[in-house]
């Protein structure tokens, strides 16, 4: 199983990405799509990353997931650049023989993405304010569930 890892500016099609994970040994495909929330008068998000490190960090998370669960396929897509409310920002899809492994692996990857991949979000608001999103302690707690 070779995970599909992509860091890209353009959007993606979650249905098509999920369908690509079907076939082979798969009896279950679990997918997650993260969207830009428009709350608080948000106008746009700007996603910055550490290009030479990002893909390796995602590969490491994917490899950890593949070690813990029997996966037939795994896809991680993370967008960078500017995104408006409602746009897709991240996709995780995991395929396995049984639903438990697919769901757990997908959940693990999205939790670890939050704390172990070098991305930073900057918010721009309709009223002109802007600022960097602060990391949430809850994210670290979510991740620790898997250790």
């Amino acid at each position: 199983m070779t995970p599909e890892i992509r860091v890209q500016r353009e959007t993606f099609d979650p249905a098509a990405e999920g369908a690509k994970l079907e076939g082979g040994d798969a009896g279950a495909v679990a997918t997650f799509t993260g969207l830009v929330r428009g709350e608080g008068g948000l106008a746009a998000l700007e996603l910055e990353h550490y290009p030479v490190m990002t893909e390796d960090a995602l590969r490491r998370i994917a490899a950890d997931a593949a070690e813990r669960w029997a996966l037939a396929g795994l896809t991680i897509i993370h967008r960078v650049g500017r995104m408006e409310p409602g746009e897709r920002i991240v996709f995780v899809g995991a395929a396995s023989r049984h639903r438990g492994d697919a769901i757990d692996a997908m959940h693990f990857v999205i939790d670890w993405l939050k704390t172990d991949a070098p991305f930073w979000k900057r918010e721009e608001f309709i009223d002109g304010r802007s600022g960097w999103v602060e990391a949430r302690e809850g994210d670290e707690a979510q991740k620790q569930r898997w250790t």
Partner: protein, 85 residues
Amino acid sequence: MAIELLYFAWVREAIGRDGETIDLPDGVETVDALIDWLAGRGNGYVEAFADRSRLRVAVDQEFAGLDAPLAGVREVAIFPPVTGG
């Protein structure tokens, strides 16, 4: 020894540049000591490094602690806690 420094997010904005190459001074042996030395330059560096609990680093593209040694290191990135996903 030349070392590549990279800054991201508000660390980059406070310093006013996304990176630089420096000659590592004698006696600067850890990331912490490097940050002390950089903060000695004043201005944006002081602002960027004021609260060290808000800083994270990667050494040669691997997440590391502020106590990470610099011997043989080529690239150090300094940034806030990550907020992807």
